[in-house]
Point group: D2
Chain length 356, copies 4
């Protein structure tokens, strides 16, 4: 009851970082939709590590093999299973983690939950590598959504204290969506890239890591999607987004900023525009009462710094039952925010397709 | 598929603000637990309106009638249904809303979703009044949790720009929990009450409203609760919390602040304390990899200002298909944050009981 | 996780035989459908006891009160809750059952499951009386299905060794459907009624009870409904039908008879008829691979004899931990098959609406 | 929303007969259980075709490859994915089926449901071959159940008109369970094997097929398992069993026979035996009110004859929109009942593990 998501479109993610393979089963896909596998690979590539200094130099061969659910390039309506084989798994690096859980990681909680039977190598099922099949599933769902005119894009809203511009919440053009959703360092304002990379490099040189935020927009979604209360759009998206490792916060529209505002400022006034009901502002992030109002759905997710850092840290030795020091060897992303952007888009695509 | 929540403990909320009655069915409760109905009524009373100037003067008779699932004061294990009759429903106030949706409300989205067949009176099923049965359900779940040593308390973390103190995230004593979870204006630092009430009164005098934030803590929860990925503690709690009207953001532990931190700052070091593994800090809010680590679970939720304000607002007339002005008559809470505190506790109780 | 059914249309049944009230919440109903409440009451009345010698003389006042989800006679799209108050509950009759479980009843299994905290009075939540809200829910769903041209009817296929005729499986006319679905002793061949009533009377005079079978048909359902494997039409209907007390078997089309047949006999040949693909026979009960083929869906359910009989029976005394004799006092149906017919129709309506 | 089953233990089956591979993801397995893979392969081998004249001579290489969820021979608690590669897929045989649906098969219903985009080759996702991963999942669940003292066995209760003996419903010894659950032609009374094989051979020589029934027993299951109403043991098992192709009926205990009995015959009297409450008979199949009573759970499933027969059959040509004749080439099982026995055991194991 853990690694599955969704009612209409059900994804079931499996695999461990250093096991035989990882993958996903997607159940409930519509028959007859043609899939452009090159576009899927673009999404996989955006998430893949090793592209530059912001990411781990570990090479992944993330080519997914589709076992079922497609005939040629067309969805058959049967469950689609895609498998990515694990190669280049250097387990030796992780030996001492068995006894000494890494601060900020799931090592300790998994140890308790699974009675020490879990696969600790590379984080096992908790590894960030498991986001690869999620991106695959999202890339399939995204193409189905695009047929309905719904587009999804996210960008690096901030890394440390360096901020990108925000989306114009009442109008997001397709050009921007296309640019962002094909970029591996997705920014609205490209001029901040250098500063952001410097922020990451500074953390890396300090044997440290750095967090950030991601802003995501869904355009072209009509009014009336979502249910009241517990199946509202916010809750459905939040459940999907918190399925992504390292996410510790989510806010819709103006989010936490609303808590300092007055109603006369935060309420989005309605007006007719080209014969259609729109709002003049979009502080609610396109959602009222859990239901879309026809404006872009917009949210921000907070990403904690990668917990794997090279600096010495305090931990415990679970065998000796005493305090211990830990130095994590191996290669790690000093900042996973850029690679998390397509993952956020992916879970959003799965969530939105479930809401339709 | 809307107003239900949970897998193990399933709650199904029903009713409209001005219908015959509202209530909840709770399915999956354990047999044999004794319920102190007075304690349930304390929770209902914390949420009830009309206590002071921060709340609407509308009187509610929120006494729930238990139709099933209890024999005397003991849970039988069968579904528990509690009904609250609606009285004092002055529908006349809401006439013009049928055509002119209130900004910030669900009027428009419900109109689109339900093809104008929804019950608009008093917000219908979207009314904040529907949180009364949620508080009832939470009060039952809370007593079951207390038998297991798990306690839940929340407080008004902020109203507008006035902040309460935060929980000490590594140690929350029962005295504080008890104080907060019985208070109708729950604060850690009572000295800020006056300032907060002034903030609300200022909004009220301006025919306006004001937002805030709520911080919630779960103490006594052992390590190993929750599932990886999509059934992680964050996602399960978030889905419940976004079921509460006016919530637009949620963050766990240090939340969005983590996005500006470095890993060496944000990672919570482990140590042995009294033979038990604890963390020295609790930036992760008691959750690693979606699973509890034995520290208090802590999160903050952002509450938008009540959308019902007396000031004139821009809207549309859906019949005449033209822009319109709206003045909302009737009595409204200038700030719902104090009354939302027990609601947040309630959904958290339901969520946590589902996770065990 | 027990008394709920369905994903799209979720029903949550609550109540005990001798509690304050029983009822149902139906979540997921479409907005805007007009409900003819008189037709709902016809269904309730078909299930109600006390009409003649085949049923218990106990009077029930089964008038449901709709608390929510309707505005006037129209569904609003919000959860519909209907409550039936319990009156005429003569608990005294059931005293000795606390210690001495009735053979064939749920007394013993509920005692074990709920640690003796369950409400034993009148069977508690296991009482046949709980089928009243199920019939209510089915009557609502039925009207929604009728708008789509889908009709449901069942009849008493047999009581003891007396059999009614079967449906013509390839063609069921509306006249028959209407007759059956409005009858309280539903038969295709009315000439067998006398014999069936004699069979029941014979059992009654012997202080005994008698079982039977019910055959149910769904007409007007188009091809392509249902999912492969575990969400096939057979499985979805079976899960609903086994929710009805006393049902111990279900078979679709020719059912168990198929197991003695050869493929050349059991396969239903396809042919074009009026430009539409039909089958010449309907041994499969309108379902191939879990999916409807456009022919009527037909199944039979086996009903065990009412376990409550006046004859002395062997049981145990759970307090004294010794064997005991039991004589059940009070008034009981010698045969529940006629009253179970509308209940089978009701759960079928809920199941089919979930499949669409 | 189709090929998944279960809440606690969730299985998600994927693959098509002639695709790249088939398999299953099992989510929710307990960590730390050691799996004897040889025993898993015994179960797979019982289902595998080609062992003798009752089965298709088509060879399958059904060796499953475990991609995740195990470390050495131990379950890690993470989702277990097993993949079976497809080899020996002779698609040529199935060409004409694209236009001319086979009577008794899912060809036509899948054509309608999936808008002709489904993979028709070898039945695609509807192929009996998809029961291989189901048997794999059941074999894992079975070993977990055995740790709790719960054992499952089924046998060929009948083929055509030849019957095996039935289980002694009040006492099933481990020796019998072990014998049956390791046999590929599982019979209680081995002396009927010859007659049964003759029945199958007779059908085969007539270019025809033959149906049968399977009886399944679960021993060692304690009282109190299951929920009232829609999550009763009958409904949960039935939903799983109807997920197996060709099953058209299920009955628990005496099943349909009960409908001809009187209450005094069908009620199972309680008695104390060795200090434990048991029933003297077991007509209810170990289930009262949807909940186990501590006696063996027993049910029978009806299997229709294999629809693939060599005889010429009437069908339609969906392209030419006219009636047509069909002769199915290729090799087919004249009787799938023996191979269906381990499949029924497998889904029962998954269902029971979900109920605990």
């Amino acid at each position: 009851m853990s690694s599955t998501y969704g009612e209409k479109i059900k994804i079931s993610v499996f695999g461990e970082s250093h096991g035989n393979g990882i993958g996903v089963v997607i159940d409930g896909l519509p028959a007859g939709v043609k899939i452009d596998m090159d576009k899927v690979l673009v999404q996989m590539s955006r998430r893949a590590p090793g592209k530059d200094k912001t990411a781990t130099p570990r090479k992944e061969s993330d080519l997914p093999k589709v076992l079922s659910g497609m005939l040629g390039d067309t969805l058959t309506g049967a469950p689609l299973c895609a498998v990515i084989e694990n190669t280049n798994t250097k387990s030796g690096d992780y030996g001492n983690l068995l006894n000494c859980p890494r601060p900020g990681h799931s090592d300790y909680t998994a140890y308790v939950k699974y009675n020490a039977s879990n696969d600790i190598r590379g984080g096992g099922h908790f590894s960030g590598r498991l986001t690869a099949p999620i991106v695959f599933a999202g890339a399939i769902c995204r193409q189905i959504l695009e047929e309905k005119g719904i587009k999804i894009a996210a960008h690096i809203a901030s890394i440390g204290n360096v901020n990108d511009k925000s989306f114009n919440p009442v109008s997001i053009d397709d050009k921007l969506i296309n640019k962002l959703s094909n970029s591996s360092f997705a920014l609205i304002d490209d001029s901040v890239e250098e500063k952001m990379r410097a922020e990451v490099e500074s953390a890396r040189l300090a044997q440290d890591s750095i967090g950030g935020t991601i802003e995501c927009a869904v355009s072209g979604i009509e009014a009336g999607i979502g249910e009241p209360m517990f199946e509202g759009v916010e809750g459905v998206i939040a459940k999907a987004v918190f399925g992504v490792p390292a996410i510790k916060g989510i806010e819709f529209g103006k989010g936490f900023e609303l808590s300092k505002m007055r109603g006369s400022q935060s309420n989005d006034p309605f007006e007719y525009k080209d014969g259609k009901v729109v709002t003049k502002t979009n502080n609610c992030g396109g959602i009222l009462g859990g239901i879309t109002n026809g404006m872009p759905v917009i949210f921000r997710a907070g990403v904690k710094p990668t917990p794997s850092i090279s600096k010495e840290q305090d931990t415990v030795d679970l065998q000796k039952k005493e305090n211990a020091k830990l130095v994590i060897k191996g290669r790690h992303d000093p900042c996973i925010v850029p690679r998390a952007v397509p993952v956020i888009e992916a879970v959003t695509a799965v969530a939105i397709l479930n809401l339709l």
